[in-house]
Symmetry: C2
Subunit: 481 residues, 2 copies
């Protein structure tokens, strides 16, 4: 029993061990007198070499995914050092497992020969994943190093747009002619020595290569050997097309408990299979992207310890928009300076509705993002959700606006402030529910990503509206009462 659910605890220890190892080296280096440096370095390098060879042995025993985990959790300089200790035969597998951001940092330090060597260990669809992270020159050199069949497959994989089934599928499937018997099939499998790791169903094709259905392992095992494949082929199997959306496919995997699904092209030719491992990775990546994208974070930030300057710059586009909206809010508030001057308490109370509105808007937003990602929401029922959310806003605005109105009366003893608070809460929460649903719905309708930066947008809009509603109504009330 080599790996278990608690493996990551061991990996965390290893990461810490590496950090301590390198920290100590740096500490020693900083302590010794510069004149002694040379001699010390010699001794040190011998000691280090021994330690590193121990580390190298530990790394050799790890699963490529675990090596990837260790690399992801090290700062960049240490990551390069550890990467150089990893056995080169693992390079390909590890590169596939690390996040895009980390992969880029690793590829930067590799020469062309290592990259070609790493690709040599991979399947076509995996090479395609790798190629996308390479510079144009490195990519074309890598492609030209491949055999022509492999190159064709890689190029075909690259031709499918991101987010489609074609881009996620494996090319490596076992084709079974529909006119042989189960015994013949079994004999061929035995002769092959092993199954491709990812194939748990066999794909049945006719003599023209047209897809006929699947042959489940179960059917192969439990039926008499003389049965012909055509008799037990499952013609009702779920099938995907290369241009199906990956998100729809992921929903289908979840809904129908799928493991491995044949993928055909527009002419019903079998071209590959989509496997649950790829779907699991896709779902994981997509949910992370939703989580980060909502607050305007780049996917690259999944490298938690990227350099500060780069992380700071990554946040500029949305920060700019954020500041712009906030500035507009400030200009709007500026219009009410006379009102605020008259009753300064307004300045203290106005952030309450804006803040509550921001949270309420983000709640509605979360429901929309969730509904869109599960295909539960669509154009036809979006309005119904908006209706529900504004109703919830009205109810809570009445109830909690009432509570806040009483609290305001007790604190300030001013009936007008109390009235302003009550009305502003109702209107703000109503608008927040509407905004939380309609902003992502509109982005989606315009063909934009409804998730990206949505939280920043919603908070900006609800803030601005919150202040405007509160101060606008305050101006009316103060003028009238």
């Amino acid at each position: 029993v080599e790996r278990s659910g608690k493996q990551h605890k061991n990996l965390e220890n290893l990461v810490q061990h590496i950090n301590t190892l390198i920290d100590r080296q740096a500490l020693v280096a900083s302590l010794v007198d510069k004149q002694e440096m040379r001699r010390h370095e010699l001794v040190q390098s011998l000691v280090q070499r021994e330690k590193y060879s121990e580390l190298r042995r530990q790394l050799d025993q790890l699963h490529p995914a675990d090596i990837a985990f260790v690399l992801e959790n090290l700062p960049r300089d240490r990551r390069q050092l550890v990467w150089s200790l990893v056995d080169k035969t693992h390079y390909g597998a590890v590169l596939l497992e690390v996040s895009n951001a980390v992969r880029e940092t690793l590829l930067q330090g590799m020469n062309q020969q290592d990259i070609v060597g790493a690709a040599g260990m991979l399947d076509s669809d995996e090479i395609a994943d790798l190629v996308q992270g390479l510079s144009e020159q490195a990519a074309s050199e890598l492609l030209s190093s491949l055999e022509s069949k492999d190159r064709e497959e890689v190029e075909s994989a690259l031709s499918f747009p991101e987010g489609t089934v074609g881009a996620l599928m494996d090319f490596d499937v076992i084709r079974v002619p529909d006119d042989e018997t189960l015994d013949e099939t079994l004999a061929r499998l035995r002769q092959r020595g092993r199954l491709p790791v990812d194939s748990r169903v066999l794909m049945v094709v006719d003599q023209k290569g047209l897809f006929q259905g699947t042959l489940e392992m179960e059917a192969l095992l439990v039926n008499p050997g003389s049965t012909s494949v055509a008799e037990v082929v499952n013609r009702d199997a779920v099938v995907f097309h290369t241009d199906d959306e990956a998100q729809d496919a992921a929903t289908a995997f979840q809904r129908y408990d799928l493991i491995s699904v044949p993928v055909v092209n527009a002419h019903n030719h079998l071209v590959g299979s989509l496997n649950v491992e790829a779907v699991l990775d896709y779902i994981h990546r997509a949910s992370q992207k939703d989580l980060l994208g909502q607050v305007g974070l780049h996917e690259e930030e999944s490298d938690l310890f990227m350099p500060v300057w780069r992380a700071a710059r990554n946040r500029w586009p949305w920060l700019t928009l954020n500041l712009l909206i906030a500035f507009i809010a400030a200009l709007i508030i500026g219009q009410f300076e006379a009102t605020i001057s008259a009753v300064v308490a307004l300045a203290a109370l106005m952030p309450i509705t804006a803040n509550v509105g921001g949270n309420a808007g983000n709640q509605s937003l979360a429901l929309v993002i969730r509904g869109l990602s599960t295909n539960q929401l669509n154009q036809s029922n979006m309005l119904r959700l908006a209706r529900k959310e504004v109703s919830v806003g009205l109810v809570n605005g009445l109830v909690w606006g009432g509570v806040m109105a009483v609290a305001t009366l007790i604190l300030y003893g001013d009936f007008r402030l109390s009235l302003i608070m009550q009305v502003a809460m109702v209107v703000t929460l109503f608008m927040a529910g509407l905004t939380g649903v309609m902003v992502p719905a509109t982005l989606k309708k315009l063909g934009l990503d409804p998730v990206l930066g949505s939280s920043i947008l919603i908070t900006g809009i609800t803030d601005t509206m919150g202040f405007f509603i509160f101060l606008g109504f305050a101006a009316l009330v103060l003028a009238a009462l």
Copy 2:
């Protein structure tokens, strides 16, 4: 080819069809004169009966997961109507597929006999899932209706705490004695007629029932039949314990591309298997829970169209906290009324830093939530992330605080406001980075759910701090300059 990735498009149409059907019925009913009602109802009921029987036929052809999708997308009253049209032999499977919230609404309308009947179609671990949604009385009646072996398994499944491997696993595994040959194993499988759907590896046990390893389908198929199981058993397979955390198991599935993993108890007895379908569902649910939980939404809200009053009440606990924090912010601002009276422009400018701080805090928060859910973050590197995030805050505070300072100078021509803006931006973004990391880290350390309501907390804290920093520094500057 019955189902595909685009199936949900058809389902959306069906949902709309049902809604139109019922809407038209309601419309007709509201139009006819009350005196005519009786006669009309008779005619109508005949027409309806025909339409509903057509609907019933359509529902019969759907996969249970698709029926679940249709039910989830209907308002409650219509949901009950459609549920009554579903074939009762599908009840069990459909109940497993719907979300917890919707399951509850369906169970409310069922009598004990239907519930027991539904359970009759399910495996023990599935019945355990079902029992958790039942009232205590209904649950115990259901349990007493089971055979003793099944009841034991259900009770054992119920005894594992939520979030552990035990609670997710299947009991139904095929045990293979390690002393038989592959031919014997194959013959037994054929005799059984079929494999349990979820088992893709066979579990090898010794005579005492102790777990020895797995027998891959591949090994069974490609080795000569006379090989003994003990020779080809895979002793290096990943194994989980019943009390392993589900999240760790999910990470292992993703990392090692697992499909079906044996689960043993503390005595190394094989008790079941954890399968990728259950893990896929778990990951899906967990990511939804993160998305909703962050903004303080109850899991129940995954029923998008729940009644308004209930949805409104669900949001009260976090709304109360939200208002409390906002009220504290108002009290703090209240302390600076004199300052604001002196320069009313402060009231317009102060929300800028608070809003930017809120978004920055939520960005850091998203990184923490993501890092925790992938096990990439732990106590040992949390501080390093905090250091990075405050550094990013300082850089962006300097750069964009500078931009805002210039904009303020142009707009108000007051150097003091400009200085206040620059300093407040740096300090607020610094604090936002710190808060965004330390609040969830602290909750986690206290054994609380770091996700729940975290966005509301962070926004509240950064808002309050943002106002305090801005106005506090403004008071100092105005007193000095």
